[in-house]
């Protein structure tokens, strides 16, 4: 990930700073919390209503089943997809990692003398740092999703999987537009939106290349599906001469019906819509005699850690359809927002899982799997029924097994386990702890606790002591 704030950024969270600094910066930003509160609450409410209106358990079961089928049959489906894409007249490229994907895009741009690129919102291009690479090669890149356009103007990375500018209040955006687009002051979203439409319309008409991600890639028909509400997805896939879709290999699905099911699951989960405004299914370049549409369509199938993630037994994480519902209900995300997750395209609970997993070393971003209270709200809303707390727990274990936990923590865990292993040791440990609790110098964890919270005292007598005094035999005594 190479997305970084430029100097003009007003963002308070520095995605390059260490984790504890990012969290601190986020928690100190009251405007950020206002923006997050307003948005996450409403998105969650809308999702709840949309799910209550249908047979949600069945939708989730079926969505899970079709995604699970896709991952279980990934190599076969990918070959089928490739075959049908080629039959449809697409160029197919395979990329093991970010640099191969970027290389493929740059090569197309060079061969076709591309100057201007329009992009529709795509997390995978954030993941590989495509914009920066294109710009370094002298290609002009414009983000066309309104939210992405705003963060690009601000020189910031997006902070949410589906709502990139969720961290900004209307006031903040207005200020930005005044500065960058010479717009008079307004907090009317319609006026700001109109300004963006005007600004971006020319870009659509001028660009030589459109780049999108892909929500689903249908193996059966060789079709790339894009979900948008603004219509920029349709623009990007229709107006420029060259269309490039960069698609994670896990996005493949079996059939059109499966894609249409997941489209509805994603729409309801992301924003509470029955369906998104646009669902664009591109199966190749425009046909002879068609008046518009790209004359050339490329599909880049990107691995970049996905096959390794599945190899590690985390196929569950590959089921994700990137709806962002887990972030919207996450009490941690709500406090710190997406930038606190660092230099990653994926924030919130699923981000805390896939960010380390997509790396070669799972101890990369090792704070993230611990940035959860394991409350389980995310699991309850996931449209493909990913057991996110379970994956977080497993990742924590992997990180500890790699010896990547702090030494004092490892020692404490060992001592605790040792004390708890036998009742005799346990009682001694309790007595010891009770005595030490009276000393002014407490062990570190309690100091951390006490900075913001009162600490309970050890009881004068433990339950087992009270129980013994009660004169009832413990079962051990009874057995003697």
């Amino acid at each position: 990930m190479e997305t970084a704030p430029t100097r003009e950024s007003t963002m308070t969270v520095d995605v390059r700073a260490p984790y504890s600094v990012r969290v601190k910066q986020a928690l100190e930003d009251e405007n950020l919390r206002t923006a997050l509160d307003r948005a996450t609450e409403r998105l969650s409410e809308h999702r709840e209503q949309a799910m209550a209106a249908i047979d949600a358990p069945r939708l989730r079961d079926e969505a899970r089943a079709v995604r699970q089928f896709a991952i279980e049959h990934l190599p076969d489906l990918l070959e089928e997809l490739e075959r049908n894409l080629l039959a449809n007249g697409c160029h197919v490229h395979w990329a093991r990692d970010a640099s191969e994907a970027i290389g493929a895009v740059l090569e197309i741009a060079r061969l076709r003398q591309v100057r201007d690129v329009v992009k529709s919102k795509s997390m995978v291009t954030e993941e590989i740092g495509l914009n920066e690479a294109l710009e370094r090669s002298g290609v002009d890149v414009v983000e066309t999703d309104l939210g992405e356009f705003i963060v690009q103007l601000a020189g910031e990375p997006p902070s949410h999987i589906t709502a990139p500018v969720i961290h900004k209040r209307a006031e903040d955006i207005s200020e930005l537009f005044q500065k960058k687009l010479d717009m008079p002051p307004t907090t009317d979203p319609a006026e700001m939106c109109a300004a963006a439409r005007q600004e971006l319309r020319n870009e659509f008409l001028l660009a030589d290349m459109g780049i999108s991600g892909g929500n689903f890639a249908i193996a059966e028909t060789g079709t790339i599906c894009i979900i948008t509400n603004e219509g920029n997805g349709r623009m990007v896939t229709s107006m420029p001469r060259i269309y490039v879709a960069i698609v994670g290999i896990e996005k493949v699905v079996r059939s059109v019906e499966d894609a249409v099911l997941l489209w509805q699951a994603a729409s309801r989960s992301a924003t509470g819509q029955n369906v998104s405004v646009y669902f664009s299914m591109s199966s190749g370049p425009r046909r002879n005699s068609h008046p518009d549409g790209p004359t050339e369509m490329h599909v880049i199938l990107l691995d970049n850690g996905r096959s390794r993630m599945i190899e590690r037994g985390y196929g569950d994480a590959a089921l994700c359809i990137r709806c962002g519902a887990c972030a919207n209900v996450c009490p941690v995300y709500r406090e710190i927002g997406g930038h606190a997750y660092g230099q990653t395209a994926y924030s919130g609970p699923i981000g805390a899982i896939v960010t380390p997993l997509l790396e070669y070393d799972v101890t990369f971003a090792r704070e993230l799997p611990f940035a959860s209270s394991l409350c389980g709200a995310c699991r309850d809303v996931c449209p493909v029924k990913i057991d996110l707390p379970r994956l977080l727990l497993d990742l924590r274990s992997d990180i500890v097994d790699r010896g990547a936990a702090p030494l004092h923590e490892r020692m404490a865990a060992r001592a605790y386990a040792s004390a708890m292993r036998k009742p005799g040791r346990y009682s001694r440990a309790v007595r010891l702890a009770r005595r030490f609790a009276r000393l002014p110098l407490l062990p570190t964890p309690t100091n951390v606790w006490k900075r913001t919270r009162n600490l309970p005292r050890f009881a004068a007598k433990t339950f087992r002591e009270l129980w013994a005094e009660r004169g009832q035999p413990t079962d051990e005594e009874a057995a003697e």
């Binding site: 959860s372 209270s373 394991l374 389980g376 727990l393 919270r453 309970p456 050890f458 009881a459 433990t462």
Partner: protein, 269 residues
């Protein structure tokens, strides 16, 4: 207090007191015992029990957690297997969730312990779940004078799916005025090691919860897990609020003999 004479219908319950209740809140353990005995259950306390291993498990220390979980199974499984007890009951949902949902994960590669864990889990219940679902209790003879609200602890709500049971028992408290808690389903921010490792976020979440408790105008917020209770009281006290989090066992047992909880509660204020 003498329990009713055992007969064929008497339930024999092994109390899994949990390590936090044992060392920090023994009165809650005693309240749970009184509640169970008042319903005619025979309570035994296997005193070789220590900790189920959840803190270590959640922190990623599976080896250590397994050590503790084995001890737990060594203590409780024989009682269950020999039919010496009908149930294992704990005054908290989080530890029950550990043995019901996570012991099978912990013993994935240990067939025998996995089998035993599942056998224990089958008869393991959180206190309010046991009272309502198994003993069929609808109402206990207890009163609470004031405004009461309920915070559903996450593992109870989303791991065990226990919610109506405690609410029903609390609704039966005489004189209690039950008030709504805004954002009730949101986590209080405890989360075990999370409260230490991510103390600033944990505190922010707890502060949000406490604001909602304040907005509910409740005198007491009832909870089923002492971990969340400790977190909430830590923040309520530090931020100078009058309201306190009280464990459901103490509220429900307040009408029974030998109650020492009330005075402690008053001390706090």
């Amino acid at each position: 207090m003498t329990p009713p004479p055992p007969d064929s219908s008497t339930r024999r319950v092994a109390l899994f007191v949990t390590c936090m209740v044992d060392t920090l809140y023994p009165d809650i353990g005693m309240a749970a015992v009184r509640l169970l005995e008042a319903q005619g259950a025979d309570v035994v306390f296997p005193d070789a029990q220590t900790c189920c291993g959840q803190p270590a498990f959640n922190a990623g220390y599976r080896h250590e957690a397994r050590t503790m979980a084995r001890n737990f199974i060594d203590v409780f499984w024989p009682l269950v297997d020999n039919s010496e007890v009908d149930a294992v009951v704990a005054p908290g949902g989080s530890c029950v969730a550990m043995l019901r949902n996570l012991f099978p994960v912990l013993f994935e590669d240990d067939h025998e312990y996995r089998r035993r864990a599942l056998q224990v889990a089958e008869v393991a219940f959180e206190l309010s779940e046991y009272l309502v679902d198994v003993l069929g209790v609808d109402e206990v003879a207890a009163r609470f004078n004031g405004k009461l609200t309920y915070h559903p602890c996450c593992h109870l709500l989303r791991e065990l799916h226990v919610d109506s049971q405690p609410r029903r028992l609390l609704a039966g408290l005489q004189d209690a005025e039950i008030v709504d808690l805004p954002g009730a389903d949101e986590c209080c921010g405890f989360g075990g090691l999370f409260a230490i490792k991510n103390a600033p976020i944990s505190t922010a979440m707890g502060t949000r919860k406490v604001r909602n408790i304040e907005a509910s105008a409740a005198d007491v917020v009832a909870v089923n897990d002492v971990s969340c209770m400790t977190h909430l009281n830590g923040i309520l006290q530090r931020q100078g609020h009058r309201c306190r989090a009280v464990h459901i066992a103490e509220l429900l047992a307040s009408g029974l003999d030998g109650n020492g909880a009330d005075e402690r509660e008053h001390d706090d204020r």
